[in-house]
Symmetry: C2
Subunit: 173 residues, 2 copies
Amino acid sequence: MTFRRLKRKTLHRARVFTLDTETWRGPDGRTFERQTIVHPGAVAIVPFDEDGRILMIRQFRPAVERFLLEIPAGTREAGESPLLCAKRELAEETGFAAESWRKLGAVYTAPGFCNEKILLYKAWDLYPKHAEQDEDEHITPVALTPAQVKQAVRKGKICDAKTLSALLQLQWL
Amino acid sequence: MTFRRLKRKTLHRARVFTLDTETWRGPDGRTFERQTIVHPGAVAIVPFDEDGRILMIRQFRPAVERFLLEIPAGTREAGESPLLCAKRELAEETGFAAESWRKLGAVYTAPGFCNEKILLYKAWDLYPKHAEQDEDEHITPVALTPAQVKQAVRKGKICDAKTLSALLQLQWL
């Protein structure tokens, strides 16, 4: 079974991603078209404080028109290594740096139409580190015990896919 | 804290989603721009067979240029209820219908730039039901025991965010 991309053309360049149209040929020889969001990739971090609480953030997400409770995360900048990106985002979003890091897995957020891949990390041994927030992010840090996190998932109060994915990877580590 | 969307304009209409540009005003009075993928929403199903195995599917995903192991899922059609959509997708992708259904939670797949919301279901008491596959989907069903699923997550062989999210919701039900 082989699939081959025959053509790709960018239809629109947005700030963070592009919208491309692609022509593919499937193993049966038929060609088909897809519109794909081409994204630079991202990282997300599950940071544990010294009391074993998970540092999450509450932020307004214009795309879904509501506040969401999520783990710290951010889009990779050009040429930036994933771990460096994770350290930058952790500081910007929570005001902490971490001495200890461990890779969890990777997730594709919406593989039906978007190539975004998020690399997930666990971080601990935190210490305060000042960093500027992006002006339009309006982020509030929230520390939750593992029991509170579980309860929040059960009640549907955590419904961000990368956050739930990271929690499962931690649970089944 | 209030955020208000002041303007929205569609820049491009793709087959499944549109790319919109939006102007928002934040609680500090400042305005900012966002490009948003506006998606009709989707459903995904964790189907259990009579041996307690989870019916997953392996399919080629052009957007990420690889095969992924995922739970059955699909995009909602105009006016289609989520449960009806879940029943249609389960039949199309696995060849089974289910007598018993239970809602799990909902997830936002990529809330930083996309409004896609996936409603998740558990389905059991399966019986065979023929349905046509979409021509370009090339789907192979794979039945995995819960232990095999856990092992696959640990080894990074399941890296689709909606699938991991649904598995956590089941685990913490």
